[in-house]
Point group: C2
Chain length 340, copies 2
């Protein structure tokens, strides 16, 4: 609680409307994107729209496709190509989620009804493949080799990042650099590509394209850092949200790395037992959170997230001030404030 | 044995060299393709080349990339683009294999050391994703939207076919049409695309492109039919090869469908117990094979495979006779003769 209050006092400004401003700008386009998503996930094989519909309907904020939509707006784009490309971005994201939820025999299942828990690992994998292929078909229909280059590269980088994460899981020797490499690849690559595409469809010069890439990449890193902090957040728990998923799976995130390195040998034995051997007892998650507070691991992780958030905002300075630019900077604040 | 001998007598002509002729034509190119494969599966994340290398090194005949190489030769192509596109075809095939081997909790594991058995489901899925993305990166580097269209469509169709197969598994109500739909999608689509690309890089007219598509599609169906027959082949068992994998998993292939429909109620109860409930005892596989022989299910399946083989060969009639055309027709015979 002390941690939460302390952080709140530092908050630059409240922006409860940080997401709302972006959503308002993207709203009309997003309806069209949702229609495109529904149309393109269709198949005579009924399980495909069923399973894909389950995850896409549950699929939250549509943050990544919104970034494509609003980035193209920032670049003054007035055509229609951004719509199907935003759908591609969401398909790639959804395929990644489906594949990320595949469970190994050796792993714990989460408490939630993920698609793989309902329909099995194999269905999740294959429907993910379908969505991924469909995304490439949509890009081909769009006809831009540049877009295809950006998103095929992002897809390869995401897969590399996911494999890298797999190697760091259950390994307390994971370094901060490993963690940043994983986050840059598995999360920030798609944020970056989603934003870059907005400049590409608008045929803007390289400077604007790179600015949007930089914004997306830094926003993506900040977003993932906050996500990893929230998994240990007492406030999240108060709101009735699940916490401790990463802990139960033995994922090595920045709060863990910091608490591990700042801890004594007893602490380290605790982390090894819980995260390497996955030998966890009642009260272990609470003890982990207490250790993180003791060593300032959550506050420090949030400080890092803020750093990347600032880098994201600064990258947009080359664009003239406008409500569109404002919405893109405020959604970064919104993301950071989720951590309180 | 009676079945084997009977079929052997019907064989049109021996073509032990059916694969050798194709391999000889593709040999030099294939070495370059193998180098491209090794180069492009590389990654700073060491598990990726390790796991991909495991499956690609074990990866048999390289039949699909050879089809691209030799199809382009048939079309008189003399450039270098067919090399990286053949590598794409092999990457897509390998990704499909990796994803196909992912095991559900509810399923039996095969006796063999598949990649997922060694490295886990999750690694197999993610490395498959990497290879799939890398294939698209190679296509983008090639720069042909037509090739991208052909292979992104094939990828979506393959995924649809795999999901369709999942639905038919353990379901004895599966029809011949369901089976043909599955085979056309999961196997024949990539054979067809691999051959079509040969015409596309050579910039040949639509007639030749379609002829190669038709050849590939029919060859693919024949190939899969033979594969499904071999899983119940006493001769395979004599050669020390594994049989009964499909039976143990409850896959509903054409020999099963024919034996089921031609059987009496006692037979059907047997098939339901073994393939729907997966309640299998010692001797069940032998009984299944005996029922197939009794009802001519394997001979009839082979007759169908021959039909598609003929369609494949006939499709190439628009090309003038040549050693290259000859190699493409003889590899179909080779495939059919695997069934003896």
């Amino acid at each position: 609680m002390a941690f939460t209050a302390g952080i709140q006092a530092q908050a630059e400004q409240p922006s409860a409307t940080g997401l709302a401003a972006l959503t308002a700008l993207a709203e009309d386009d997003l309806k069209k994107v949702n229609r495109l998503i529904l149309e393109n996930m269709n198949s005579p094989v009924a399980l495909i729209p069923q399973l894909a519909g389950h995850i896409i309907a549950a699929g939250g904020k549509r943050l990544r496709p919104m970034l494509t939509l609003v980035s193209s707006k920032l670049c003054g784009y007035e055509g229609e190509r951004h719509l199907s490309l935003a759908a591609c971005v969401e398909f790639i994201h959804t395929a990644t989620l489906l594949h990320d939820d595949v469970v190994d025999d050796s792993e714990l299942r989460r408490g939630m009804a993920t698609a793989n828990a309902v329909w099995g690992n194999k269905s999740s994998v294959l429907v993910g493949d379908f969505l991924f292929s469909r995304a490439f078909q949509l890009m081909v229909a769009d006809g831009s080799l540049k877009v295809l280059e950006v998103l095929s590269r992002a897809s390869a980088v995401i897969a590399e990042g996911e494999v890298h994460q797999l190697i760091t899981t259950n390994n307390t020797a994971t370094t901060e650099q490993d963690y940043l490499d994983v986050v840059s690849a598995k999360t920030a690559a798609l944020f970056s590509a989603a934003c870059q595409i907005g400049a590409v469809v608008a045929a803007r010069d390289l400077e604007e394209e790179q600015a949007l890439q930089t914004y997306g990449r830094n926003f993506g890193i900040a977003f993932q850092l906050v996500d990893d902090i929230l998994d240990y957040s007492a406030h999240q728990a108060e709101l009735g949200k699940t916490i401790g998923d990463d802990f139960r799976e033995g994922k090595i995130t920045l709060p863990v790395i910091l608490a591990f390195h700042r801890g004594d040998s007893e602490d380290r034995a605790f982390w090894r037992r819980c995260l390497e051997e996955l030998d966890q007892k009642d009260g272990d998650l609470e003890h982990a959170i207490a250790l993180m507070h003791k060593h300032g691991a959550l506050a420090e992780s949030l400080e890092r997230a803020r750093h990347y958030g600032r880098e994201a905002r600064v990258a947009l300075d080359i664009f003239p001030a406008s409500p569109v630019r404002d919405a893109l900077t405020r959604v970064v604040d919104f993301c950071l404030e989720r951590a309180y």
